[in-house]
Symmetry: C2
Subunit: 117 residues, 2 copies
DNA sequence: AGAAATTCTGTAGATTGTCTACTCCATAGA
DNA sequence: TCTATGGAGTAGACAATCTACAGAATTTCT
């Protein structure tokens, strides 16, 4: 009966932007820290590869959803800090809805109530 | 406060196989019917395009997770009926776990409990 | 002082699974 | 005969992830 879950799960395409925007809602952060945060709060289930992370950050910046500036990190290294723009907040809300809707839809198919008239 | 959900949501990559396998758990069905079923039970939130559907079916068949045979549909048209193989059942279980794990991980990041020691 | 590990950003290219936009054929009904 | 519906299919575009690199700066270890 017991079913050990996979130790790690690949990201489904289209979810990384949401994860990043959500992370930045708590305040500005640099790429490395964003990845660590996602990994940590997901209890190590999600892992963001650098080859996904940086293109995503540049994508979001190009869309105007986040803005960046160079600064120094806690450990004293140069780091590019990103923060949510007003447009980014709207986008975050929209992607939240999208995710909620999608995962609800999946639930309907996977566990149908099956009560029809 | 009220937030109307999108009338339709694009599939996230990697979820179609699961939806198809899950649908076939109820018994053999042909492609067209599978698509309709997913669309209907998801309350029209998910829509499977034929350009996604048929390649997916062929993919699953090539993997040995489903098997096919020609027959006649309810409406008397030639239709290719697919059924779950034993390997397909295992795959379905695995993908279920994968989805559950992933969506739980998303939940952790999106709605963190935030209680740390 | 020098070596090694860590932190941080980044790119190139492959892969994969969606999507849009078609085609084709058969049957049913007007 | 014409149209709507049911059903299977392909071609090619597209986009986001992945693996696998590289490189620079700083701290830590020896």
């Amino acid at each position: 009966m017991s079913q050990k879950p996979p130790s790690r799960v690949d990201l489904l395409q289209g979810t990384l932007d949401l994860l990043i925007l959500r992370t930045l809602r708590a305040g500005p952060a640099h790429g490395h820290a964003i990845a660590k945060h996602i990994q940590h709060t997901s209890e190590e289930l999600l892992q963001v590869e650098t080859g996904s992370l940086y293109p995503a950050l540049h994508r979001l910046e190009a869309q105007g959803w986040i803005a960046a500036s160079w600064d120094l990190s806690d450990k004293g290294k140069r780091a590019r800090y990103y923060r949510l723009t007003p447009a980014g907040r709207k986008q975050l809300a929209a992607e939240q809805v999208r995710w909620n809707t999608f995962s609800r839809a999946m639930g309907l198919v996977l566990n149908p109530t099956d009560q029809e008239a």
